[in-house]
């Protein structure tokens, strides 16, 4: 039974809490670390940085990734940058301000202590990554350059062209590969985790399927770290990579880990609009473009002129008009909802009238085309490849798309789930971004968790286990978990239905987008809650998974989509239960007179953590109250 949910936040003044807590936690001596086995699932920023650090410290680390190389994790696709409170621009930044901006940006639904720690270690991350050779952008004098991002009035974002995620991931990956060579990290590529093994209420291992040979194997450890990213692909169309999935976290959820705030999903305002029904994913255009691009639509919904023929007076720069102090740099949720509003009014642009303009003409005139090229050329090229339009000449067309999930497995201040020994890092946990993540903060959190938090908190957990061997893989708990995995594989191959896995994924995605997307209401959510189980039932009766060999990509997808069905339903349930608007969660019933998200702090200043009800069962809601002692709860305003 799960008792009262507590974040295990240290007491005392916030500014010193992490420092003091590091001193208070238990340690594992260097010569004892080799006695501990640690499993890390996922090799993105969080997983690779944790593996490198724990490997260096002397633990026996095993890393599992379903990719052919750890360097392909979806962190690699992050474009714009990483925040850090370095205040190199002397424009008023500080740890306190990054903390404040993040709590406010998250619409007061995150844990203060976690966010403060994140802001504190942000400065160490930049130092660490530069030391590893990440080629951040530089000014001519050789110092690091910064840009600004949404939700902030300071320049605190470090970047490497439009490929910041790639460069940070390569840094962490390289540091991890050094440990692979030294033998402290054992790498398992093309290996997908399909179950968590729990014994006596502690996480003790995982079940893994080799995607090439099809072999299912058991792996035991003293602790399991899930660093497996978010679940945006529930929506089918998202900016996430095609393989990104929730199976590792979802199967851990089924084994007892609570899933927190599943309805907190982020819709990114600047993506390329869908062009046809065959669209397999949506492509993000970095938020950094909002530094120089101006967002507008024609005043008149019936205006069919090309954008350069529309005079200034007949353009509506709706963000600049409504939010004069932040303008085009309002946070993502605000920018997205406003784009949706103008498209819903019929003022959308492009052949399907499903976008808004992001216009660089003014910036090109102001700073010259060479400067814009320097800043964004790779993004402009990517846009042209996809749309066949040149953004140096014609404004980009953009529209919001699912991008990031703030929800995830519930963790305490130690990043440990309610299942002892199961830690969750990066996007896979729910911890730091509340109801809305600020741009350039995902990379920061992944690296903070992996580099600067987990090594302390994991040692604190392991210290008590000294002398306890890991559970052997011939223990019945492993056999039982493996049987579950084997059964599911057999079941998929024996259905022999008529529709593909992708067909069902697309249908699920439509339900999720229509009823649990950018705006939600009771009627729609209740509809989704009846449609999803019906579709899931059909999926299990009528999906066709062919298989004539060990490597079977349809089978891989089938398992992931099966989990999306269950998770999608939980997201809807959570959205229905949270009768307030906050950040990315916009309930139409709860808005201010001018259409902004209206929170209900009296009823909902808490984390909603769901306990699995088992197959077909109803999940149970647990609440962790959130208190705000350092930031005053206010209605967010970016005007």
């Amino acid at each position: 039974m799960i008792g009262e949910l507590t974040g295990n936040v240290p007491t005392g003044p916030l500014a010193d809490a992490w420092t003091q807590h590091k001193f208070d936690m238990k340690l594992v001596a260097p010569n004892n670390r080799r006695k501990f086995d640690v499993i890390i699932v996922g090799s993105g920023l969080a997983g690779a940085s944790a593996a490198a650090t724990l490997g260096e410290q002397g633990y026996n680390v095993k890393v599992f990734t379903y990719h052919d190389s750890p360097r392909r994790a979806h962190s690699i696709a992050a474009q714009g940058g990483i925040n850090a409170a370095k205040n190199y621009k002397s424009d008023g930044d500080s740890v306190q301000r990054l903390f404040y901006d993040t709590v406010k940006g998250g619409d007061f639904r995150s844990r203060e202590a976690n966010v403060h720690r994140l802001a504190e270690v942000s400065v160490d991350i930049i130092d660490q990554m530069v030391a590893q050779g990440v080629p951040f952008a530089r000014e001519y004098g050789g110092l690091l350059d910064n840009r600004s991002f949404g939700g902030a009035q300071v320049s605190r974002t470090f970047y490497a062209r439009g490929q910041t995620g790639q460069q940070l991931l390569l840094g962490a990956y390289q540091q991890m590969m050094k440990q692979v060579q030294l033998g402290t990290v054992e790498l398992h590529t093309r290996s997908e985790m399909l179950d968590l093994v729990v014994k006596d209420d502690r996480a003790c291992g995982i079940i893994v399927r080799d995607l090439v040979t099809g072999a299912v194997t058991r792996h035991s450890a003293h602790a399991v770290l899930l660093c497996t990213g978010g679940y945006g692909n529930v929506f089918y169309l998202s900016t996430n990579a095609m393989y990104s999935n929730a199976s590792a976290t979802w199967r851990a959820h089924r084994r007892g880990a609570l899933f927190a705030n599943p309805c907190f999903t982020q819709i990114h305002p600047t993506c390329i609009p869908a062009s046809d029904d065959f669209q397999s994913k949506l492509t993000l255009m970095s938020e950094s473009l909002r530094n120089d691009g101006r967002i507008w639509v024609p005043t008149d919904a019936d205006d069919t002129r090309s954008p350069d023929q529309i005079p200034e007076a007949e353009r509506d720069y709706f963000l600049e008009r409504k939010y004069p102090s932040f303008g085009n740099l309002v946070p993502r949720d605000v920018a997205s909802r406003n784009a949706k509003a103008v498209v819903d009014e019929g003022r959308g642009v492009g052949p399907l009238k499903n976008g808004v303009y992001l216009d660089f003409a003014a910036a090109i005139e102001r700073v010259g085309v060479h400067v814009i090229k320097e800043r964004y050329d790779n993004l402009f090229q990517m846009y042209e490849r996809i749309t066949d339009e040149d953004p140096y000449k014609v404004p980009m067309r953009i529209y919001p798309a699912v991008h990031y999930t703030m929800g995830g497995l519930w963790v305490d201040y130690h990043l440990m789930s309610n299942v002892p020994g199961l830690f969750v890092l990066g996007e896979a946990n729910f911890s730091d971004h509340g109801a809305n993540r600020l741009g350039a903060s995902a990379l920061m959190q992944g690296l903070a968790d992996g580099y600067f938090v987990i090594s302390y908190t994991l040692a604190n957990y392991l210290a008590d286990l000294l002398g306890t061997p890991a559970v052997p893989v011939d223990d019945p708990v492993f056999a039982h978990a493996q049987a579950t995995v084997d059964d599911q594989v057999k079941r998929f191959l024996s259905i022999g239905g008529t529709q593909s896995v992708d067909h069902y994924h697309r249908e699920l995605g439509k339900i999720m987008w229509d009823y649990c997307g950018m705006a939600r209401n009771r009627t729609g959510l209740e509809k989704a809650l009846s449609e999803i189980p019906a579709l899931r039932e059909e999926f299990w009766k009528n999906v066709r998974v062919l298989g004539d060999g060990p490597m079977n990509q349809s089978l891989e997808r089938a398992g992931r989509v099966a989990d999306f069905f269950e998770l999608g339903e939980l997201m809807v349930r959570d959205a229905l239960e949270r009768e307030e608007s906050c950040g990315g969660h916009f309930r139409e019933e709860s808005q201010t007179p001018d259409g902004e998200a209206l929170r209900d702090d009296h009823r909902f200043a808490h984390v909603s953590a769901w306990e699995s009800g088992g197959p077909g069962g109803t999940p149970t809601l647990h609440r962790e109250p959130l208190t705000f002692d350092n930031v005053h709860l206010t209605q967010r305003s970016y005007k």
Binding site: K86, F136, R138, M242, D276, F452
Partner: protein
Amino acid sequence: MHVTLHVWRQAGPGAPGTMETYDAPDISEEMSFLEMLDVVNERLNSQGREPIAFEHDCREGICGSCGMMINGQAHGPERGTATCQLHMRKFADGEHIYIEPWRAKAFPVLRDLVVDRSAFDKIVEAGGYITAPTGAAPDANLTLIPKDVADAAMDAAACIACGACVAACPNSAAQLFTSAKVNHLNLLPQGQSERYQRVLGMVDAMEEFFGSCTNHGECQEACPKEISIDFIAYMNRDYVRAQLKNRKLLSQD
């Protein structure tokens, strides 16, 4: 559009493979090449035929998962473009398109168009890093890095390790990949302490798996990130120097 595909099908490592032909009518010009393959696979699946296995993930040209020979060219006809960002508008209606996996001894076929590129990770393991243990770093602005240096390092670091350079090379050499990895770090001030042992380690690892470079330059043409073969020259220079360098005098350059 209506195209005809000729695709390499191979059930598993070591199994015999063959080119199979698939008719692909009703293809939209707006589709990406991989979306076209998605549609073909959906149709195969509905006919009870095994879909074509291929690797892909981000579909934004950055993860490096995708890659296939398209009409004999690595990643197909568009310059500086990975397969996932290639669109059907670059092909003609009625065209026959030949799709094969990367062809290189160091990249054995696992299934259909999926190959094993783990040799690249072995090269990185052999020195493709700067030793900087977590937590030990000085302030990031302590070392000034001239913009030209940072930009050049970034040009090299843009490599996505897709393997097109190897597939395009008549010798299946991996010089462009290895030199990109070496130079990303060797050009930076932070990378100087390990500069020579890095180049030795990585080049030696490369030669365990891959062929030798004879300056064809096909790699540069095929590279979706348009990485320059100048980096191969820099790598060779460092490799030669590494043989002669008295490491005790490294700080006196």
